[in-house]
Subunit: 166 residues, 2 copies
DNA sequence: TTCATTCAGGACCAAGCTAGTCCTGTTTTG
DNA sequence: CAAAACAGGACTAGCTTGGTCCTGAATGAA
Protein backbone atom coordinates (compact mmCIF):
# COMPACT_ATOMS: atom_id res chain seq x y z
CA UNK A 1 0.00 0.00 0.00
CA UNK A 2 2.99 2.22 -0.10
CA UNK A 3 2.63 3.19 3.47
CA UNK A 4 4.99 3.66 6.30
CA UNK A 5 4.81 1.51 9.35
CA UNK A 6 3.26 3.00 12.39
CA UNK A 7 6.50 2.73 14.23
CA UNK A 8 8.11 5.07 11.74
CA UNK A 9 5.49 7.61 12.52
CA UNK A 10 6.11 7.20 16.21
CA UNK A 11 9.81 7.44 15.64
CA UNK A 12 9.52 10.82 14.01
CA UNK A 13 7.41 12.11 16.85
CA UNK A 14 9.83 10.78 19.41
CA UNK A 15 12.92 12.06 17.64
CA UNK A 16 11.47 15.49 17.15
CA UNK A 17 10.71 15.54 20.81
CA UNK A 18 14.25 14.54 21.57
CA UNK A 19 15.40 17.42 19.47
CA UNK A 20 13.61 19.85 21.72
CA UNK A 21 16.05 19.42 24.51
CA UNK A 22 19.67 18.51 24.72
CA UNK A 23 19.40 16.98 28.13
CA UNK A 24 19.05 13.28 28.56
CA UNK A 25 15.45 12.24 28.36
CA UNK A 26 14.07 8.99 29.58
CA UNK A 27 11.71 6.90 27.56
CA UNK A 28 9.08 7.41 30.22
CA UNK A 29 9.46 11.14 30.06
CA UNK A 30 9.17 11.16 26.32
CA UNK A 31 6.12 8.99 26.50
CA UNK A 32 4.54 11.45 28.88
CA UNK A 33 5.47 14.40 26.73
CA UNK A 34 4.28 12.94 23.49
CA UNK A 35 1.44 10.77 24.60
CA UNK A 36 2.86 7.76 22.85
CA UNK A 37 2.57 4.63 24.99
CA UNK A 38 5.74 4.07 26.95
CA UNK A 39 6.52 0.54 25.79
CA UNK A 40 6.31 1.72 22.25
CA UNK A 41 8.56 4.67 22.91
CA UNK A 42 11.07 2.32 24.45
CA UNK A 43 10.92 0.04 21.50
CA UNK A 44 11.41 2.86 19.07
CA UNK A 45 14.32 4.30 20.99
CA UNK A 46 16.05 0.96 21.16
CA UNK A 47 15.85 0.72 17.43
CA UNK A 48 17.04 4.26 17.02
CA UNK A 49 19.97 3.56 19.27
CA UNK A 50 20.94 0.50 17.32
CA UNK A 51 20.72 2.54 14.16
CA UNK A 52 22.96 5.16 15.70
CA UNK A 53 20.48 7.98 15.47
CA UNK A 54 20.40 8.50 19.20
CA UNK A 55 22.85 7.90 22.02
CA UNK A 56 21.82 6.23 25.19
CA UNK A 57 23.03 6.43 28.75
CA UNK A 58 22.26 3.55 31.01
CA UNK A 59 21.63 3.43 34.66
CA UNK A 60 19.97 5.75 37.06
CA UNK A 61 19.54 9.19 35.58
CA UNK A 62 20.24 7.74 32.22
CA UNK A 63 18.30 8.43 29.13
CA UNK A 64 18.55 9.26 25.48
CA UNK A 65 19.89 12.07 23.43
CA UNK A 66 20.10 12.74 19.74
CA UNK A 67 23.31 11.63 18.11
CA UNK A 68 23.02 14.34 15.48
CA UNK A 69 20.92 17.40 15.11
CA UNK A 70 17.49 17.02 13.63
CA UNK A 71 18.55 18.75 10.47
CA UNK A 72 21.23 16.14 9.97
CA UNK A 73 18.78 13.27 10.05
CA UNK A 74 17.00 12.69 6.80
CA UNK A 75 13.63 11.07 6.95
CA UNK A 76 15.07 8.28 4.86
CA UNK A 77 17.34 7.32 7.75
CA UNK A 78 14.47 6.90 10.12
CA UNK A 79 12.54 4.81 7.68
CA UNK A 80 15.54 2.67 6.93
CA UNK A 81 16.22 2.18 10.60
CA UNK A 82 12.77 0.85 11.27
CA UNK A 83 11.58 -0.67 8.07
CA UNK A 84 14.86 -1.77 6.67
CA UNK A 85 16.36 -0.69 3.39
CA UNK A 86 13.96 1.10 1.13
CA UNK A 87 13.21 -1.44 -1.51
CA UNK A 88 9.95 -1.08 -3.32
CA UNK A 89 10.26 -4.45 -4.89
CA UNK A 90 12.42 -7.45 -4.38
CA UNK A 91 14.35 -6.54 -7.46
CA UNK A 92 16.09 -3.40 -6.42
CA UNK A 93 19.65 -3.48 -5.45
CA UNK A 94 20.39 -3.80 -1.77
CA UNK A 95 17.27 -5.77 -1.51
CA UNK A 96 17.70 -8.80 0.64
CA UNK A 97 15.46 -10.85 -1.58
CA UNK A 98 16.83 -12.39 -4.66
CA UNK A 99 15.00 -12.78 -7.89
CA UNK A 100 15.19 -16.24 -9.29
CA UNK A 101 14.07 -15.34 -12.72
CA UNK A 102 15.95 -12.23 -13.63
CA UNK A 103 16.59 -13.86 -16.95
CA UNK A 104 12.94 -14.00 -17.78
CA UNK A 105 11.71 -10.86 -16.15
CA UNK A 106 10.62 -8.17 -18.56
CA UNK A 107 11.12 -5.36 -16.11
CA UNK A 108 14.40 -6.56 -14.77
CA UNK A 109 16.29 -3.84 -13.04
CA UNK A 110 13.72 -1.28 -14.02
CA UNK A 111 12.49 -0.60 -10.55
CA UNK A 112 15.83 0.75 -9.51
CA UNK A 113 15.05 4.08 -11.09
CA UNK A 114 11.81 4.38 -9.27
CA UNK A 115 13.41 3.29 -6.08
CA UNK A 116 16.22 5.79 -6.24
CA UNK A 117 13.84 8.55 -7.14
CA UNK A 118 12.02 7.88 -3.92
CA UNK A 119 15.20 7.48 -2.00
CA UNK A 120 16.33 10.87 -3.21
CA UNK A 121 13.07 12.41 -2.21
CA UNK A 122 13.28 10.98 1.26
CA UNK A 123 16.91 11.88 1.67
CA UNK A 124 16.21 15.49 0.91
CA UNK A 125 13.88 16.01 3.81
CA UNK A 126 15.23 16.10 7.33
CA UNK A 127 13.58 15.75 10.67
CA UNK A 128 14.04 19.45 11.17
CA UNK A 129 11.55 19.88 8.37
CA UNK A 130 9.14 17.75 10.30
CA UNK A 131 9.24 19.94 13.33
CA UNK A 132 6.29 22.13 13.96
CA UNK A 133 7.03 25.73 13.03
CA UNK A 134 6.59 27.43 16.33
CA UNK A 135 5.46 25.08 18.91
CA UNK A 136 5.27 25.45 22.60
CA UNK A 137 7.93 23.22 23.80
CA UNK A 138 6.82 21.13 26.65
CA UNK A 139 9.51 21.29 29.26
CA UNK A 140 11.19 18.09 30.14
CA UNK A 141 9.63 16.48 33.10
CA UNK A 142 12.33 15.44 35.45
CA UNK A 143 10.88 12.33 36.70
CA UNK A 144 7.22 12.54 37.25
CA UNK A 145 6.05 9.17 36.39
CA UNK A 146 4.14 8.93 33.27
CA UNK A 147 0.87 8.62 34.90
CA UNK A 148 -1.00 11.52 33.56
CA UNK A 149 -0.61 10.29 30.11
CA UNK A 150 -2.73 11.96 27.64
CA UNK A 151 -2.96 9.47 24.97
CA UNK A 152 -1.86 10.79 21.69
CA UNK A 153 -2.37 7.44 20.15
CA UNK A 154 -2.10 8.26 16.56
CA UNK A 155 -5.13 6.38 15.72
CA UNK A 156 -4.71 8.26 12.64
CA UNK A 157 -1.19 9.15 13.20
CA UNK A 158 -0.33 6.38 11.04
CA UNK A 159 -1.63 4.50 8.31
CA UNK A 160 -3.76 2.08 9.98
CA UNK A 161 -7.20 2.51 8.82
CA UNK A 162 -8.24 0.99 5.67
CA UNK A 163 -10.74 3.21 4.20
CA UNK A 164 -8.92 3.81 1.05
CA UNK A 165 -11.35 4.65 -1.56
CA UNK A 166 -10.20 6.25 -4.65
CA UNK B 1 8.75 -1.62 4.82
CA UNK B 2 7.97 0.98 2.26
CA UNK B 3 7.44 -1.63 -0.29
CA UNK B 4 5.00 -2.12 -3.06
CA UNK B 5 2.59 -4.95 -3.10
CA UNK B 6 3.47 -7.87 -5.25
CA UNK B 7 0.43 -7.25 -7.36
CA UNK B 8 1.79 -3.88 -8.36
CA UNK B 9 4.89 -5.54 -9.56
CA UNK B 10 2.86 -8.01 -11.56
CA UNK B 11 0.76 -5.20 -12.93
CA UNK B 12 3.74 -3.47 -14.40
CA UNK B 13 4.91 -6.64 -16.05
CA UNK B 14 1.48 -7.30 -17.46
CA UNK B 15 0.93 -3.76 -18.66
CA UNK B 16 4.29 -3.60 -20.32
CA UNK B 17 3.44 -6.81 -22.06
CA UNK B 18 0.15 -5.31 -23.18
CA UNK B 19 2.07 -2.42 -24.59
CA UNK B 20 3.95 -4.74 -26.87
CA UNK B 21 0.96 -5.34 -29.05
CA UNK B 22 -2.10 -3.35 -29.91
CA UNK B 23 -4.21 -6.38 -30.62
CA UNK B 24 -6.50 -7.74 -27.97
CA UNK B 25 -4.69 -10.10 -25.68
CA UNK B 26 -6.32 -12.60 -23.42
CA UNK B 27 -5.34 -13.04 -19.83
CA UNK B 28 -4.27 -16.57 -20.62
CA UNK B 29 -2.05 -15.41 -23.41
CA UNK B 30 -0.42 -12.80 -21.24
CA UNK B 31 0.11 -15.33 -18.53
CA UNK B 32 1.86 -17.57 -21.00
CA UNK B 33 3.97 -14.74 -22.33
CA UNK B 34 5.05 -13.38 -19.00
CA UNK B 35 5.15 -16.47 -16.87
CA UNK B 36 2.86 -14.92 -14.30
CA UNK B 37 0.22 -17.38 -13.08
CA UNK B 38 -2.97 -16.97 -15.05
CA UNK B 39 -5.34 -16.36 -12.12
CA UNK B 40 -3.09 -13.60 -10.95
CA UNK B 41 -2.92 -12.03 -14.37
CA UNK B 42 -6.69 -12.10 -14.52
CA UNK B 43 -6.96 -10.49 -11.15
CA UNK B 44 -4.55 -7.75 -12.07
CA UNK B 45 -6.28 -7.04 -15.34
CA UNK B 46 -9.64 -6.78 -13.70
CA UNK B 47 -8.26 -4.18 -11.38
CA UNK B 48 -6.60 -2.35 -14.23
CA UNK B 49 -9.86 -2.32 -16.12
CA UNK B 50 -11.72 -0.91 -13.18
CA UNK B 51 -9.09 1.76 -12.87
CA UNK B 52 -9.45 2.60 -16.52
CA UNK B 53 -5.90 1.79 -17.47
CA UNK B 54 -6.93 -0.92 -19.87
CA UNK B 55 -10.00 -1.61 -21.95
CA UNK B 56 -11.62 -4.98 -22.07
CA UNK B 57 -13.66 -6.80 -24.65
CA UNK B 58 -15.86 -9.58 -23.44
CA UNK B 59 -16.98 -12.72 -25.12
CA UNK B 60 -15.27 -15.11 -27.42
CA UNK B 61 -12.21 -13.54 -29.03
CA UNK B 62 -12.31 -10.90 -26.39
CA UNK B 63 -9.35 -9.67 -24.44
CA UNK B 64 -7.58 -6.62 -23.12
CA UNK B 65 -5.89 -3.65 -24.61
CA UNK B 66 -4.18 -0.59 -23.16
CA UNK B 67 -6.41 2.40 -22.73
CA UNK B 68 -3.46 4.75 -23.17
CA UNK B 69 0.06 4.34 -24.37
CA UNK B 70 2.64 3.19 -21.91
CA UNK B 71 4.29 6.56 -21.87
CA UNK B 72 1.01 8.09 -20.75
CA UNK B 73 0.75 5.88 -17.72
CA UNK B 74 2.82 7.03 -14.79
CA UNK B 75 3.91 4.43 -12.33
CA UNK B 76 1.95 6.33 -9.73
CA UNK B 77 -1.27 5.44 -11.51
CA UNK B 78 -0.57 1.76 -11.35
CA UNK B 79 0.30 1.92 -7.71
CA UNK B 80 -2.78 3.93 -6.95
CA UNK B 81 -4.95 1.51 -8.84
CA UNK B 82 -3.78 -1.43 -6.84
CA UNK B 83 -2.73 -0.09 -3.51
CA UNK B 84 -5.05 2.83 -3.26
CA UNK B 85 -4.04 6.46 -2.90
CA UNK B 86 -0.45 6.99 -2.00
CA UNK B 87 -0.57 8.03 1.59
CA UNK B 88 2.47 7.33 3.67
CA UNK B 89 0.63 8.09 6.83
CA UNK B 90 -2.95 8.70 7.71
CA UNK B 91 -2.23 12.35 8.18
CA UNK B 92 -1.51 13.38 4.67
CA UNK B 93 -3.97 15.41 2.80
CA UNK B 94 -6.29 13.52 0.55
CA UNK B 95 -6.01 10.66 2.88
CA UNK B 96 -9.38 9.20 3.64
CA UNK B 97 -8.37 8.36 7.15
CA UNK B 98 -8.82 11.01 9.73
CA UNK B 99 -6.50 11.74 12.54
CA UNK B 100 -8.27 11.93 15.84
CA UNK B 101 -5.52 13.68 17.59
CA UNK B 102 -4.43 16.32 15.18
CA UNK B 103 -4.67 18.73 18.05
CA UNK B 104 -2.02 16.93 20.01
CA UNK B 105 0.10 15.61 17.23
CA UNK B 106 3.51 17.22 17.11
CA UNK B 107 4.06 16.44 13.47
CA UNK B 108 0.65 17.40 12.28
CA UNK B 109 0.57 18.02 8.61
CA UNK B 110 4.26 17.54 8.30
CA UNK B 111 4.10 14.36 6.31
CA UNK B 112 2.45 16.11 3.45
CA UNK B 113 5.71 17.31 2.10
CA UNK B 114 7.24 13.89 2.22
CA UNK B 115 4.23 12.40 0.61
CA UNK B 116 4.12 14.80 -2.26
CA UNK B 117 7.81 14.39 -2.86
CA UNK B 118 7.21 10.73 -3.38
CA UNK B 119 4.12 11.34 -5.41
CA UNK B 120 6.08 13.60 -7.69
CA UNK B 121 8.76 11.03 -8.08
CA UNK B 122 6.30 8.35 -9.01
CA UNK B 123 4.37 10.57 -11.34
CA UNK B 124 7.48 11.44 -13.27
CA UNK B 125 8.20 7.91 -14.32
CA UNK B 126 5.99 6.22 -16.87
CA UNK B 127 5.54 2.62 -17.77
CA UNK B 128 7.46 3.30 -20.94
CA UNK B 129 10.44 3.84 -18.68
CA UNK B 130 9.88 0.43 -17.26
CA UNK B 131 10.21 -1.33 -20.55
CA UNK B 132 13.18 -3.47 -21.25
CA UNK B 133 16.21 -1.49 -22.37
CA UNK B 134 15.98 -2.68 -25.92
CA UNK B 135 12.81 -0.73 -26.45
CA UNK B 136 13.39 1.98 -23.99
CA UNK B 137 13.72 5.20 -25.84
CA UNK B 138 12.33 7.58 -23.31
CA UNK B 139 14.87 8.96 -20.93
CA UNK B 140 14.02 9.19 -17.31
CA UNK B 141 13.35 12.60 -16.01
CA UNK B 142 15.65 13.64 -13.29
CA UNK B 143 13.77 14.40 -10.15
CA UNK B 144 16.40 15.63 -7.87
CA UNK B 145 19.93 15.23 -8.23
CA UNK B 146 20.77 13.44 -5.36
CA UNK B 147 23.39 11.90 -6.73
CA UNK B 148 24.94 9.17 -7.93
CA UNK B 149 22.16 7.30 -9.19
CA UNK B 150 22.70 3.85 -8.27
CA UNK B 151 23.42 2.07 -11.42
CA UNK B 152 21.36 -0.94 -11.91
CA UNK B 153 22.49 -4.20 -10.83
CA UNK B 154 21.45 -6.34 -13.63
CA UNK B 155 22.03 -9.36 -11.63
CA UNK B 156 19.76 -10.06 -8.80
CA UNK B 157 17.33 -7.48 -9.73
CA UNK B 158 14.05 -8.97 -10.10
CA UNK B 159 10.61 -8.95 -9.04
CA UNK B 160 10.18 -11.82 -6.95
CA UNK B 161 8.59 -14.96 -6.68
CA UNK B 162 9.10 -18.40 -7.58
CA UNK B 163 5.97 -18.32 -9.56
CA UNK B 164 7.99 -17.09 -12.44
CA UNK B 165 9.85 -20.27 -12.72
CA UNK B 166 8.29 -22.93 -14.70
C1' DT C 1 27.55 -2.33 49.50
C1' DT C 2 23.03 -2.39 48.16
C1' DC C 3 19.28 -0.73 45.82
C1' DA C 4 16.49 1.85 42.65
C1' DT C 5 16.72 3.35 38.02
C1' DT C 6 17.03 2.92 33.19
C1' DC C 7 18.44 0.93 29.03
C1' DA C 8 19.29 -3.78 26.11
C1' DG C 9 17.56 -7.44 23.84
C1' DG C 10 14.51 -10.65 22.84
C1' DA C 11 10.31 -13.68 23.13
C1' DC C 12 5.74 -13.69 22.45
C1' DC C 13 0.95 -13.26 20.66
C1' DA C 14 -3.12 -11.12 18.47
C1' DA C 15 -4.78 -8.78 14.54
C1' DG C 16 -4.69 -7.23 9.94
C1' DC C 17 -3.35 -7.52 5.42
C1' DT C 18 -1.66 -9.84 1.10
C1' DA C 19 -1.51 -13.28 -2.27
C1' DG C 20 -3.46 -16.59 -4.55
C1' DT C 21 -7.34 -19.68 -5.77
C1' DC C 22 -11.85 -20.62 -7.09
C1' DC C 23 -16.66 -20.21 -8.23
C1' DT C 24 -20.62 -18.32 -10.29
C1' DG C 25 -22.35 -14.95 -13.52
C1' DT C 26 -22.51 -12.24 -18.06
C1' DT C 27 -21.25 -10.98 -22.69
C1' DT C 28 -19.93 -12.10 -27.32
C1' DT C 29 -18.99 -14.99 -31.29
C1' DG C 30 -20.05 -18.69 -34.40
C1' DC D 1 -27.02 -23.27 -28.00
C1' DA D 2 -22.14 -23.94 -26.96
C1' DA D 3 -17.71 -22.15 -26.27
C1' DA D 4 -14.66 -18.40 -25.17
C1' DA D 5 -13.36 -14.72 -22.07
C1' DC D 6 -14.19 -11.24 -18.96
C1' DA D 7 -16.68 -9.51 -14.21
C1' DG D 8 -16.95 -9.73 -9.59
C1' DG D 9 -16.61 -11.61 -5.40
C1' DA D 10 -15.82 -15.06 -1.60
C1' DC D 11 -12.56 -17.49 0.63
C1' DT D 12 -8.25 -19.11 3.07
C1' DA D 13 -3.44 -19.74 4.32
C1' DG D 14 0.55 -17.24 5.49
C1' DC D 15 3.07 -13.46 6.56
C1' DT D 16 3.96 -8.97 8.71
C1' DT D 17 3.09 -5.54 12.01
C1' DG D 18 1.93 -3.66 16.41
C1' DG D 19 2.13 -3.97 20.95
C1' DT D 20 3.32 -6.15 25.43
C1' DC D 21 6.26 -8.23 28.65
C1' DC D 22 10.20 -10.45 30.81
C1' DT D 23 14.96 -10.99 32.10
C1' DG D 24 19.43 -9.05 32.36
C1' DA D 25 23.09 -5.52 32.55
C1' DA D 26 24.89 -0.89 33.50
C1' DT D 27 24.93 3.20 36.38
C1' DG D 28 24.53 6.27 40.04
C1' DA D 29 23.03 7.29 44.74
C1' DA D 30 22.09 6.24 49.59
S1 LIG E 1 -1.13 12.16 13.97
FE1 LIG E 1 -2.64 13.09 12.77
S2 LIG E 1 -1.96 15.08 12.58
FE2 LIG E 1 -0.28 13.95 13.30
S1 LIG F 1 11.40 -10.08 -11.33
FE1 LIG F 1 13.45 -10.03 -10.76
S2 LIG F 1 14.38 -8.96 -12.32
FE2 LIG F 1 12.26 -8.65 -12.61
Amino acid sequence: MLKLSKLTDYAVVVLVRLGDDFALQTSGGIAAATGVPEPTVAKVLKIMTTAGLVCSQRGARGGYRLARSLSAIPVADVITAIDGPIALTACVEHSPAICDSSALCPVKGRWDRVNSAILDALSGISLADMRPPARDVVPVQPLSEASAMQSYHPAGASVSTTAFVE
